[in-house]
């Protein structure tokens, strides 16, 4: 970890993998980064509804992330 950066593992779900070209990646962000910070760094359609979880729990976009957090970003589904 360089300086006061934090490492976040970003896990993409479904078609987001194809849109961004990776499935799971550990990325560095400045300390104090929020869910929004991560989202704005990714070329995802901001208008498309998403379900975002941190370490498996629901999270709001303004929440601050901690070093080692895992952020899963999924489109909406209505079941199998």
């Amino acid at each position: 970890m360089s300086g006061s950066n934090i490492k976040i593992t970003v896990k993409l779900i479904g078609p987001f993998i194809n849109q961004l070209g990776f499935s799971e990646k550990t990325m560095e962000f400045p300390a104090g980064a929020t869910v929004d910070t991560v989202l704005s760094s990714l070329p995802l359609d901001p208008k498309r509804p998403k379900i975002i979880t941190r370490n498996g729990q629901a999270v709001t976009t303004g929440e601050k992330l901690g070093d080692g957090d895992r952020l899963a970003i999924s489109p909406l589904y209505s079941g199998g």
Binding site: K11, G14, T53, Q57, G79
Partner: protein
């Protein structure tokens, strides 16, 4: 009357007779179609307490007013009967060419009564009805059966068939159509088998009665194109429903080891990404431009089409993390005509019961080869084990004893779909109150719970959301009969379906009109159950007791140490009942029934239990 043909084809297999009856506009507007039609017919015509596998049961095949017309995802047909698995009302929908062909043959409803003395299949072409010997296809799987029928009648025919599962009255056997998928989880295939009816083939040549045929045609084709474009833009079909698997693993909702666990480090081996990489073909139902089926080669080299439920229940729930082996189990279920969800739950329960020492056997979690053998035994009811496995988890648990019912993962006798609700109260409520037993098709509230509310809330907002989704999914989409996928997955607004309905029928309905029909149907479905089980109480709306057991809580991951709390679940049920206008037993009150135009039905159910 536009939108509906108004024709009911009533077939009696005992004496091989048939007649065409008619329904009027009042019936059409009150019940709309699909689930609504099937429920009302079964309510009116079945005597309570009949043997679901006897000649008194009736098999219903029905469609809705927009079914079969060119418009997004309108290729679905509903099959229904009294369930041999649950003893209650049962239905299911499946994509098939039968939808369009049945409409063109001039029928909205087919009622099949009695029982043939010999294996038979039905050939329906407009007004011509033939009862033909099924000797050459009886005993065959659904693939061979369909191939044989397509050779005889051409690929344009609509075909429904059963496999060996239905023939041998496996209680979770389904009705299958190779032009789409399978439907009727609670043993509709067994009902068809009990009547010695191997298949139904339908061809039609008449116009479908549409109030604004040119307007509807133009709109429907344009919208099919638009839905296809949105799908391409969003990439939804790249993984289809199987994207859900990785998500469930992230949020601790994946069925693993008979739902004793909620996530697994090897889940990635069977997820949508791996599936898409292994894809050899893409599959979809008629009238669909967002084809969600992903076909891969199974362990034996067959083409097998998978979705999330198949992989969750036949893969992770059995601790099988080899995709080709999961595909093999799925292929066998499809060929035998078994429900993949219940089949996965049954095998997992069997392995669990053996692991717990409740029963002796040589099947272990993770053993794909033995799982294949057991599926065949269950489909053919071979020996003691085959017969045990053919009856579903609830009957198995009652035979096995040793408190195994606590981990028989079912509600009302129907096995829970691939969402592990160890700590998802709203989805547990959705399974608990699903009107055919535990099924995800009625209400899928997980995303709401994990996106917009606290996961640990048991508040009235969750009950309200379950009801809202039941109105849409178990109501609207089941009675106009269309696939729900464009709605959430692609953001295709519900108002489109109102427009299709109005252009087809010439009516001027709004969504509120549909919600009233949906509430009426849900109330009558509950009455159907109460009539069959007059000492009804709320415990029948409970999920399996193991989800309330602190000892079953995860030891690691997002919900470590968490479990459902029974007193809070009861509170959530109260919210649900209050919002529906049902009493504390979970039965619609007389006031609610009468507000839904169910006075006559309320009078009938009061012969069995007192209404509040």
């Amino acid at each position: 009357m536009y939108g509906w043909t108004g024709n009911i084809l009533r077939i009696n297999l005992t004496d091989r007779t048939h007649k065409v009856e008619h329904f009027d506009e009042e019936f059409a507007k009150k019940w709309v179609g699909g689930r609504g039609f099937a429920l009302k017919i079964l309510w009116d015509e079945l005597k309570p307490g009949i043997d679901p596998l006897g000649p008194e049961n009736k098999l219903i095949v029905t469609v809705g007013p927009i079914a079969g017309i060119p418009a997004p995802n309108t290729g679905k047909t509903v099959v229904a009967a009294k369930s041999p698995l649950t003893g209650g009302y049962a239905d299911g929908n499946l994509g098939t060419r039968v939808t369009e062909q049945m409409r063109k043959a001039g029928y909205d409803l087919i009622i099949i009564e009695g029982k043939s003395a010999q294996p038979v299949y039905l050939y329906i072409e407009d007004d011509k009805i033939q009862y033909l010997p099924a000797d050459e296809i009886w005993g065959k799987g659904t693939y061979d059966t369909h191939d044989w029928l397509y050779k005889k009648y051409g690929k344009g025919a609509g075909v429904l068939s059963i496999g060996q599962g239905g023939e041998n009255m496996n209680l979770y056997s389904m009705v299958r159509s190779l032009e789409g998928r399978a439907g009727g989880r609670p043993g509709i295939g067994a009902v068809m088998g009990s009547k010695k009816l191997k298949a139904i083939v339908i061809k039609g040549s008449k116009p479908i009665p549409v109030a604004d045929p040119e307007g509807m045609r133009k709109l429907g084709l344009e919208d099919l194109r638009k839905v296809g474009e949105i799908d391409k833009k969003t990439g939804w079909s790249i993984q289809g429903t199987t994207g859900v698997l990785a998500w469930c693993n992230e949020v601790a909702a994946l069925p693993v080891h008979n739902m004793r666990k909620t996530h697994h480090p090897d889940a990635w081996k069977i997820d949508g990404e791996r599936l898409n990489n292994a894809r050899v073909a893409t599959y979809g139902c008629p009238n669909c431009t967002m084809r969600c089926g992903i076909t891969i080669l199974d362990h034996e080299g067959h083409e097998s089409e998978l979705d999330y439920e198949n992989i969750g229940m036949l893969g992770s729930n059995l601790d099988i993390f080899e995709l080709d082996q999961v595909a093999s189990l799925n292929y066998l279920c499809d060929d035998y005509g078994l429900d993949t969800i219940s089949a996965g739950a049954v095998l997992a329960f069997y392995a669990d019961a053996i692991e717990q020492g409740a029963i002796k056997g040589d099947f272990k979690f993770g053993d794909a080869e033995m799982a294949k053998k057991l599926l065949g035994m269950a489909a053919r009811r071979e020996g003691e084990v085959g017969n045990l496995l053919a009856d579903g988890t609830l009957r198995m648990a009652r035979k096995i004893g040793h408190n195994s019912e606590a981990y028989a993962m079912q509600v009302k006798g129907l096995e829970i779909s691939a969402y592990n609700c160890k700590f998802i109260p709203g989805m547990a409520l959705a399974f608990g109150t699903s009107p055919i037993g535990a099924h995800h098709k009625e209400s899928w509230v997980i995303t709401f719970e994990l996106k917009q509310t606290a996961r640990d809330s048991y508040g009235p907002e969750k009950a309200a959301k379950v009801i809202e989704l039941q109105r849409i999914r178990g109501g609207l989409f089941e009675f106009i009969v269309a696939c729900r996928f464009p709605w959430i997955e692609l953001g295709w607004e519900l108002e489109h379906y109102v427009e299709y309905f109005n252009k087809t029928t010439g009516l001027n309905w709004t969504l509120n009109d549909f919600w009233k029909v949906a509430d009426r149907i849900y109330a009558l479905m509950k009455f159907f159950w109460v009539r069959e089980f007059p000492f009804w109480d709320r415990t029948r709306d409970y999920p399996p007791m193991i989800w309330f057991d602190p000892k079953n809580a995860d030891t690691d991951g997002p919900i470590a140490g968490k479990y459902l709390e029974l007193d809070k679940y009861n509170q959530l049920l109260d919210y649900y009942y209050q919002q529906r206008g049902w009493d504390k037993r979970g039965i619609p009150t007389r006031k609610t029934a009468e507000a839904l135009d169910l006075k006559k039905e309320a009078d009938q159910v009061e012969k069995f239990t007192k209404l509040e």
